[in-house]
Symmetry: C2
């Protein structure tokens, strides 16, 4: 489907855009089902928090209306929204009055093999570490070279995702997913205050688990804790939940809490 | 002057470009004097090293020829070269066969106040720290949100540059400059193996100083060492050398080695 820039059909962008020059922007990847953006409120909340943190001049009402209209046209697929700080001249300094630029791109539904969700996946042990930058942690910003380098570490179908540690060796997330463990009935996921992307599906699963009386914990996770987990899964807002079967020498079977949350995610994505 | 994309006049870019999507690219900012790119070989060397590290599929001969032709047309000014990994579909994985995209943009000569070079500048103490990522350290890549945030910390003319420390508190560089100290006749600059941009002017000044028998040292620099320095200056490949007069409570006067290297940089930029 044709892309939109600031509400108008377009397939190109100004060369002066700061998203290109500095990665000075944010993005959201949103599943669209039957014309409806899935988990829209959570995507908009994260985006708004990012715009606040980066001091973007963005009209969230305009953006939200555009996104809804674009999703209706897309019907079923994946909507990618990029918001940049707009154009500027040479130099890092930005004019705070410049309106942020809104880019909407649509693509067909993600074509992951069904076996990933059914039987589970193995995680490639990425050697690229996530650097620690609390000012940017949690945001889905456009500075993604670490993910690009990590994703280039493996090819082929043996690994559906890779696991990334931070520079201190903590277990953080997948290259394009968040990670959860289950340990003694408690659902754990990494603290993302130093690095990592605070995924929308991660937030929703934490919320749903709590609502159902499941204990949850956002905490630092060591490789040792990962190895000792009873269940492991990865998630994102496009594919939902994939059980994790292996990482390095560790092996897990698909557990009941993983299946429960997977069903829940599937229901949201197919709603 | 009109921009070029892959050798053709253009002022727009494909929305699928990975430079926009992920900051998956590199750049060089090159002074052009009388149609000649200043320190061209060093710029090309750094760019080539970056392309190798990021595994870009780039033809350096084509790029170099284009750059020289563009500079001739520009005559006097600043040439910005951006090289991205080109277009891709959704997802971090890249097709290694996709040719890198070359973007050339020209602007008039930089209009910094002459007083910066003559009398010196004060450095704003940026609170934004540089995160440590050895895989990207030294490269002039497009993931520049830390610099954008740091540059937004001050406005007005009191400070011409800001000083950035890394997350461990080491003194690294300016927001758009490298930093040098003189201590007991030795010229020191920060080790950039964990973070920072290895500037072309920094490399040239180190080379020239060594050629003239001046002792040089690339090393970790603490705030204490900065405070105790005899001379301090910043440099880049557009403005040359600015003496540093103050940072926080520290004060310096403009020293002889600073003036010597400033003259040398000026000669290169005006050659």
């Amino acid at each position: 489907m044709e892309s939109w820039v600031d509400g108008q059909p377009a397939d190109v962008l100004s060369l002066k855009d700061r998203g290109l020059a500095y990665g000075d922007g944010l993005f959201e990847t949103i599943a669209v089902h039957g014309g409806t953006p899935v988990l829209l409120e959570r995507h908009l909340q994260r985006l708004e928090a990012g715009c606040r943190r980066l001091a973007f001049n963005v009209d969230m009402r305009v953006l939200s209306a555009e996104l809804i209209a674009y999703a209706q046209n897309l019907d079923n697929g994946v909507l990618k929204l990029i918001v940049t700080r707009g154009d500027s001249l040479r130099g890092y300094a930005a004019d705070p009055s410049t309106p942020a630029r809104r880019i909407l791109q649509g693509s067909p539904p993600a074509a992951y093999p069904a076996i990933h969700a059914k039987q589970g996946v193995r995680l490639f042990p990425c050697t690229v570490r996530l650097s620690e930058q609390p000012l940017l942690a949690g945001l889905k910003h456009l500075n993604r070279l670490e993910q690009v380098l990590a994703r280039a570490e493996w090819s082929g179908i043996e690994y559906a995702e890779g696991l990334m540690l931070d520079t201190s060796g903590r277990v953080i997330e997948g290259v394009f997913s968040n990670l959860f463990l289950v340990h003694d009935g408690v659902l754990l996921t990494a603290d993302l205050s130093r690095c990592g992307v605070a995924g929308v599906m991660r937030a929703e699963l934490l919320f749903q688990a709590k609502s159902q009386g499941i204990a949850t914990q956002i905490t630092d996770i060591s490789l040792e804790q990962l190895h000792q987990a009873d269940e492991v899964f990865v998630c994102n807002s496009v594919y939902g939940v994939w059980p994790v079967l292996g990482y390095g020498s560790a092996r897990w079977s698909v557990g009941p809490l993983t299946r429960k949350l997977q069903t829940l995610a599937r229901t949201l994505l197919d709603a």
